[in-house]
């Protein structure tokens, strides 16, 4: 005999309170109706005969009470679901994949696509027999196992209820991998299906409840899985969305800002919408856009004299998916950084840091190496008043509290290793993915003499030459140190000599600008960066602060600390809107970024008739087969009410 709990804690409490209640009902002093009789003489004798005043005498004769208590005991027993284990060890295995991406918030089916998907899953779960097990996964751009394989319907239902909509995009592959884990064991990869199988496969049926809207999963093989696609949604859903929204500062006229937006009509009717632009909550401008069915249109706004703040674009037309009717961006606070250049004299370098763009980005101060001996340098080092220090052909005695770039010199840090000067040096390879190395072409750069630069273990090489790495970058606590193994000018007995022709190439000022932008953390672009909901946001922030507070669109603040990383990665970007970064002691934000659902796939509310899963196409099934609904709990409840009614009738309406 085995038992299965089918009730929750409060339900047990309720059920458990019934037997004492029945017991109490029997001894409750009723409000009796007075009735005048000629004499209580005979009644007194009658009652005395019955011995009603004795509780136990009364109990002994009260068959009805015992029947009722027995009934409740049976009900409690029924709720424990006693049963015998059958011969069959395992029943069916079901995996429910429920899409909770942004498009599932669409209200083209009532109340929403996600609720309909949950209702269908609930229907299917109710048909589970003893021995059947099911697993519940919610997926958007990531998979979330809500409930592992279990036969406990109550837990499955609770997990199902807990699935909430997200603003994320859709990617099925992770969910499929999780689902396939048990069905197709021992796979080293999904690309190679000929590897050794280490465990018995457990075939399962996947119920995929989604509206589509994800990239095809060509490299997935169903294997032992059987997929059933249950489309959710109405193919004729109506939606107008903002697919892009950005602002750009006019290079010639810095006070002018242009805002662009791309609008898309996913419906089957042409629409005319008004896009309203708000700045910090007040209406700034509006534009009318006529969009043909299943096509896109753009709107742009010319703005002038705007300081930092939030720009919000809204489409004022109600449709089935509202989350993509609003887009935000921010005019970032401009921030100048402090840059100290220490050089014995280097014309090329001084020219490179004197460009207009670098002047906008940073306050540049150029000093001779003797400056390092002054108390001002020591104090600035203590206060961390410089965001970046560039050491050209010289090095400090101790590493400063700032990001550094060493050109032709070595930092006073034993973890860096350098070779003896060698030459000539031919630059072979450079890491174009690194922000400092973007847009650089170094193939034609010739270097007379240089040293290899081997960074500490956590560092990475930026430029590799024939002699080895010649430029590397490595973190030092919250700071970053970059070292270039060759200088621009070589000081010899005869005087200064040119060591490389890089200084006269176009790539040199670009490198200096990129290095200063990356290492000093300055902001020049007008528009804040934007990411999709749920995607991580990388923030390059001033190294002067250790802790930052990030205010989310809902007003909640999250305190994050940079730790040992030079770049702060913020992952809690579920809500669309503007995120502001604050530091202690400053009222205005130091950085802003935006989270927008700019996804044509999510905004497109079409329901795909067929789902490509690897080599197979899974056709939409009409609906989940409607299962048998269990009414036994209701029947018990009705029976119980009847029992109470019977008790009342028995005592009140005795037929004489």
């Amino acid at each position: 005999m085995s038992w299965m709990n089918s009730l929750g804690a409060w339900q047990w409490l309720l059920l458990g309170s019934i037997p004492p209640l029945i017991f109490v009902l029997y001894f409750l002093k009723l409000r009796r109706q007075p009735l005048e009789v000629p004499s209580t003489f005979l009644w007194k004798r009658t009652i005395e005969d019955l011995h009603v005043n004795s509780i136990w005498q009364r109990l002994r004769q009260n068959l009805l009470l015992f029947l009722q208590l027995l009934f409740v005991a049976l009900v409690i027993l029924a709720c424990l679901r006693p049963g015998l284990n059958g011969d069959q060890l395992t029943g069916r295995r079901w995996i429910f994949l429920i899409d909770n991406s942004a498009s599932m918030q669409a209200t083209d089916v009532s109340p929403s696509r996600l609720e309909v998907a949950k209702a269908k899953a609930r229907e299917k779960l109710s048909t589970m027999n003893r021995g059947d097990v099911a697993m519940l996964l919610a997926f958007s751009d990531r998979a979330d196992v809500k409930q592992g394989f279990t036969g406990d319907k109550r837990r499955l239902m609770a997990a199902l209820d807990a699935i909430a909509p997200t603003n994320r995009t859709t990617d099925l592959s992770e969910a499929l991998r999780a689902a396939a884990g048990l069905a197709n064991p021992g796979r080293a990869s999904f690309n190679n299906i000929n590897d050794v199988q280490v465990a018995d496969a457990l075939p399962a049926t996947i119920f995929l409840m989604t509206d589509g809207g994800f990239p095809p999963n060509a490299d997935f093989d169903l294997g032992n899985l059987t997929a059933e696609y249950i489309p959710i949604g109405n193919p004729t859903a109506d939606n107008v969305s903002i697919l892009a929204f950005s602002i750009e500062r006019n290079e010639e006229k810095p006070t002018q800002i242009e805002a662009f937006a791309r609008l898309s009509n996913e419906g089957l009717e042409p629409v005319s919408v008004t896009a309203s632009l708000y700045f910090n909550g007040s209406l700034l401008d509006a534009a009318q856009a006529n969009i043909a069915p299943e096509s896109e249109s753009g709107v742009n706004f010319q703005l002038t004299d705007l300081q930092e703040g939030e720009l919000r674009l809204e489409i004022d037309r109600p449709d089935n998916l509202m989350v993509d009717n609003v887009a935000v961006t921010a005019l970032r606070p401009s921030r100048q950084t402090n840059l100290l250049v220490i050089t014995p004299g280097n014309k090329a370098l001084e020219t490179a840091v004197a460009t207009e763009r670098i002047q906008k980005l940073s306050n540049v101060r150029v000093e001779a190496p003797e400056f390092m001996e002054t108390p001002e340098y020591a104090k600035s080092n203590e206060d961390a008043s410089y965001d970046m220090i560039l050491y050209d052909q010289c090095s400090p005695k101790v590493m400063p509290n700032a990001n550094t770039l060493f050109i032709g010199s070595s930092p006073p840090d034993p973890s860096w290793t350098f070779s003896e000067p060698q030459g000539p040096v031919f630059l072979d390879d450079w890491d174009k993915t690194h922000p400092m190395m973007q847009f650089l072409e170094l193939g034609s750069v010739r270097v007379v003499e240089g040293r290899t630069v081997k960074p500490p273990e956590s560092g990475s090489v930026l430029i590799t030459a024939d002699i080895g790495p010649v430029c590397s970058i490595a973190p030092r606590g919250p700071f970053q140190d970059a070292v270039l193994g060759f200088s621009l000018i070589k000081t010899t007995d005869t005087g200064a000599e040119v060591n490389t022709d890089w200084a006269i190439k176009r790539s040199f000022p670009v490198f200096v600008y990129s290095a200063i932008e990356f290492l000093s953390g300055g902001i020049t672009a007008a528009a804040a960066q934007t990411v999709l909901p749920g995607q991580p946001m990388g923030l390059t922030l001033s190294n002067r602060y250790e802790q930052f507070q990030i205010q989310k669109p809902d007003g909640n603040r999250e305190t994050v600390s940079r730790g040992q990383q030079s770049q702060l990665v913020f992952t809690q970007t579920e809500l669309p809107g503007i995120y502001q970064v604050f530091v202690d002691g400053r009222e205005s934000p130091v950085e802003m970024f935006a989270v927008n659902l700019f996804s044509a796939r999510e905004s497109n509310l079409d329901v795909v008739p067929e789902l490509p899963l690897g080599a197979e196409n899974v056709a939409a099934s009409k609906a989940v087969t409607r299962g048998r609904s269990e009414f036994w709990r209701w029947l018990i409840a009705i029976g119980f009410l009847l029992l109470i009614a019977e008790w009342i009738v028995y005592n009140r309406r005795v037929l004489v």
């Binding site: 009789v37 009644w43 005592n651 309406r653």
Partner: protein
């Protein structure tokens, strides 16, 4: 449950009186009356009805010597005649509050019965007196002869339900005030919490010809009540909480049956004629048929 309508109902209708005219009260015992009546007495006396002869002894009234026998036998024989006497009839009405219950009320039925029986007595020249439980001076005057019918009805009509002393006290008072022998008809529901037995014993000691008409209303015999009730005694305000169920009603019937049976056997053992009656039975029918069978009426 008290019935006010029944208070205005006539005690005796002309039809009833016509039926009762022909009847006569019968006593199983021959009592000595105070006046000569229409009734034969055990006493031999002056009458037209011959009883027996006996030898003359000196001192006998010479008027009763049968001279014809003396002529034939030459001895004195005395003719003995049965003396005719009147009968003492007492009706005791229980006018306690419990009697004013039922449809029609038990008190009305009691009054009708008492009046009916008393009327029969008056018609036959018997000495009739009606007593009620309440009040020391509440007894009716002694009535005799058909002419007293009006007084009888007036008195019976004036009887109302009220608080009464225990039955024993009532009977004790009755016995002290009425020393004569005769017929006593006690009309009551016997619902006296102090018990009726001692009262009965007092009556039995007086060697009266005792009839008890035990009156119960249909509501008492078959109570039509249900649910959770607080029963209030109309006499002493005593309260009993009951939940009326089928089982309880069955028990009540058993208790009632036992009570009636007990009263009956108590009476039978003491030569008291016990007559059970229901308040909804017609009084004339009860008298003409039921009491006739029991020998009270001829």
């Amino acid at each position: 449950m008290q019935n006010s309508d029944s208070k205005d109902a006539p005690i005796l209708t002309p039809e009833m009186m016509a039926k009762l005219d022909r009847l006569e009260l019968v006593s199983r015992k021959i009592f000595r009356g105070r006046m000569k009546g229409e009734r034969r007495s055990k006493r031999k006396g002056q009458s037209v009805e011959f009883a027996d002869f006996r030898n003359y002894v000196s001192g006998d009234d010479l008027r009763f010597i049968d001279w014809n026998l003396y002529a034939r036998l030459d001895r004195f024989y005395l003719k003995i005649f049965l003396e005719e006497e009147d009968l003492h009839f007492h009706a005791i009405i229980d006018d306690s509050l419990s009697m004013d219950y039922g449809t029609p009320s038990k008190l009305l039925a009691a009054k009708q019965l008492a009046a009916g029986l008393a009327y029969i007595g008056l018609c036959r020249g018997d000495r009739v007196r009606i007593t009620r439980f309440s009040g020391l001076d509440g007894d009716s005057p002694i009535m005799r002869g058909r002419a007293s019918t009006h007084r009888l009805l007036q008195y019976v009509s004036s009887v109302q339900a009220t608080q009464v002393p225990p039955m024993t006290d009532v009977i004790k008072r009755f016995c002290i005030r009425n020393t004569s022998k005769g017929i006593v008809v006690l009309i009551t529901d016997l619902m006296d919490k102090t018990g009726y037995e001692s009262a009965m014993r007092l009556l039995v000691a007086r060697e009266l010809d005792i009839y008890i008409i035990h009156l119960l209303s249909p509501e008492e015999l078959h109570p039509d009540i249900k649910g959770d009730l607080k029963l209030v005694d109309c006499e002493d305000g005593d309260q009993r909480e009951v939940t009326v169920s089928q089982q309880l009603l069955r028990r009540y019937q058993q208790t009632l049956g036992a009570f009636v049976e007990q009263a009956k056997s108590f009476c039978n053992r003491r030569s008291i004629t016990y007559v059970p009656a229901q308040s909804d039975q017609a009084a004339d029918l009860l008298i003409a048929q039921y009491l006739r069978q029991r020998g009270l009426i001829r």
